[in-house]
Symmetry: C2
């Protein structure tokens, strides 16, 4: 067993991203506890060698580093400072790594509250998806006090291929992530609009994918998401509701700063329309199904809607 | 001199793309004539070894293959069929290669008119920019009759690294190109919105470029255009007015098909706003300056606007 076993780690949130991080840490020789509101997720973690717990406070008892990998600001608040919150149970001088996408202001508030308990705090949103989480190859857009980085370094090195150290204050990591989400959401909406537009012009959309991915119209998201549309496979790798949330954060920040975000706002509305049509928990490429449904187009895996369904 | 010298080629439009194509053909051993409304462009072509002409009909006399590399449908009409039009002067059985971005309907009309004169027609929009045009490494999204492809093959091979043969009728190439332009325009607008949003949040925008280009928010256009913003260099590699034109074609086609294009429409309005602010002939990354100007932000190369200027 490596020397990493001396650091006690707690992972709260064992979905595909959190489980991948926890599993990487187990492989790296750390002592890892974890919890999740979903009992099946905890069982899978226990089967992989982790110590399961029923609640954040139980999981975090004596932890040196806590990784919070939940969906949003509200859940992060609950995990850290709620009724069964983790922060108060951590080892003295421990470090919180918070990965949910949230506003820079929220990250600053959590940092201040953690520091009031004698804990370090790293604002540490992640990018890369489940496959790279499982491989210990995430990208982390991190900011926080230098001492917290020193303390959490073995953990960061174990879960990430790239750790961008973006500043010594919480909020900067969150801001970088939200810029990424503005682009990611806009590019998914544009990809879905473009591929259904191609279908409306009666083009071979598999050929469109081949040509565009080799042309100046390409984006990381076009290349990654359009295959879901070509295969008619809308099982959620990342859900529509993630972008109603994240683009909502973008437009909220914009309104607060009196900064216009026309593209992000239009993309947000397209995700909201897709969620309104009942696809909020489906893959975010479902924006294409929403448009196709409106326009009476048949994409792979879709039956052409009947008049009654429209 | 290679056997290519037997084919007589005419290039109409000697801007950066057309000059690059003409120069590639001269290097390839073809007999190349050319013309342009700009006398300096013709002089540069003559200095490179081409035969300059004063008008399309003069340039096209006896040409086996005519390449029209002008801006839009109207100019293409003028070049091919106008008062001094080229089509009627070409060698019997010649082939027209038309590269301007236009609607599929316009491409079909030009094909029909060319065929009525006994000419082949390849709907052949191009992608790749001036550097790849100069290197003979364009991407061509082409459609047309098989016989026209056989006839123009030595020319296509000389000017392009990738020739996508997308169908045997004019209009398909144009449709692929316009899907590419929808994405390209949306991605430029999103890139400009995102990088100014980052500036509004007081982030280091050079660092944002580094992080995003390694993340899921990346696009070909973000990677290519944001350096213009970082350097404050808005000399036109591709102008704002190109996208007021091309996204206008997208939204016109959409309206005709009763197909909604919300992202393209919003991006179009951002280019129109940028043109309205006097930057129509500047680099298309000027959308970022337009937003920064509205929001009172200072990007590289911009003086913070005074109250009087706002």
């Amino acid at each position: 067993m490596s020397s990493n076993s001396k650091l006690k780690i707690c992972v709260v949130g064992l979905g595909s991203m959190g489980f991948g991080m926890a599993h990487s840490l187990l492989r790296g020789g750390f002592d890892v506890s974890g919890c999740d509101v979903n009992a099946e997720a905890v069982a899978r973690f226990v089967a992989a060698g982790g110590r399961g717990a029923a609640s954040p406070d139980d999981a975090a008892r004596g932890a040196d580093v806590l990784i919070s990998v939940v969906v949003n600001e509200r859940q992060t608040d609950e995990v850290l400072f709620g009724e069964n919150g983790a922060a108060a149970q951590m080892a003295k001088g421990g470090t919180v790594l918070s990965s949910a996408t949230m506003s820079p202001d929220a990250a600053r508030r959590f940092s201040t509250r953690s520091e009031a308990l004698g804990l370090g705090y790293i604002d540490a949103p992640i990018s890369g998806g489940a496959v790279r989480a499982a491989a210990g190859e995430l990208t982390i857009m991190a900011s926080g006090a230098p001492a917290a980085f020193v303390h959490a370094r073995p953990v960061l090195d174990c879960i990430a291929a790239n750790v961008y150290e973006l500043g010594d204050k919480a909020g900067t990591g969150a801001a970088f992530k939200i810029v990424n989400q503005l682009l990611a959401g806009a590019h998914i909406a544009a990809a879905c609009e473009a591929i259904t537009f191609a279908k409306a012009m009666d083009l071979d959309i598999a050929k469109v994918y081949e040509v565009i991915t080799a042309s100046a119209g390409n984006s990381w998201m076009f290349e990654n998401r359009v295959p879901h549309i070509l295969e008619g496979d809308y099982a959620p790798r990342s859900a529509v509701d993630i972008f109603t949330k994240d683009l909502g954060i973008v437009t909220d920040i914009g309104r607060g700063l009196k900064f216009p975000t026309p593209i992000a706002s239009m993309a947000l509305q397209m995700f909201v329309m897709t969620a309104a049509a009942g696809m909020g928990r489906d893959d975010d490429a479902s924006v294409a199904r929403m448009i196709a449904g409106l326009a009476g187009l048949e994409l792979p895996g879709m039956a052409r809607p009947t008049d009654a369904e429209i």
